[in-house]
Symmetry: C2
Subunit: 126 residues, 2 copies
């Protein structure tokens, strides 16, 4: 198993998910050692949810799993870039393809992207 | 000024630098509020160096500055994606174009990339 440095951020490392086909950056999230090992073992991307404080298989509720197609680590062994096939075509819980669907334009935010799904359909009324 | 949530990570947010022309992910680093504001103000990417515990204008030693061409924020306002023009053609202090120049291949790491510069020429013998 490739060893990473989980010490810099209290057991977590930042992970970038990038679309394997288009190179669009879809999201950033965190992994602990368990999610790293599960990702390598299963081929499906697992994160650590900081809000829920638990292991999080991406897509476990929405069905929008991420298949890991290529995994890269950085020069310091403390962050990861995963090229994924994004099931369902959207990574963001708001229904957009990418979590980064807003561009800074002066003091404003400009929407750039279209909704792939309606969050209420997928997650319920919350 | 667009407001971000710096509370989740002790005053820091993770920032992805992506090549504006090729969409290659070059590096990930962190910003505090000062580096965020300086980046917006100057158009040059500034980070917070966790190892040196100080503001860090990317390229300040190597000359390999990053010009911010497009700045995106994520759905939670707690991370940033910046599309950059990478001066000098390399973001990594090891001389590679991207910090993510190693692919996980089973238990091995496979080099993918070529050196743009020799680190000793740029940073000295250290």
């Amino acid at each position: 198993m490739v060893e990473l440095n989980f010490n810099k951020l209290d057991g977590l490392i930042p992970v970038i998910a990038q679309d394997f086909e288009t190179d669009e950056v879809l999201m950033i999230a965190f992994m602990n050692r368990d999610s790293w090992e599960l990702t390598l073992k299963t081929g499906y991307v697992h994160y650590w949810s900081r809000s829920k404080n638990r292991l999080w298989k991406k897509g476990e509720v929405s069905g929008n799993f991420q298949e890991a197609r290529e995994i890269r680590i950085d020069c310091d062994n403390d962050s990861v870039l995963i090229k994924v096939h994004q099931i369902g075509g959207a990574a963001c819980h708001t229904g957009f393809r990418s979590c980064f669907h807003r561009i800074v334009n002066g003091t404003q935010l400009q929407l750039d992207g279209t909704r792939v799904f309606n969050p209420t359909d997928v997650y319920g009324e919350g």
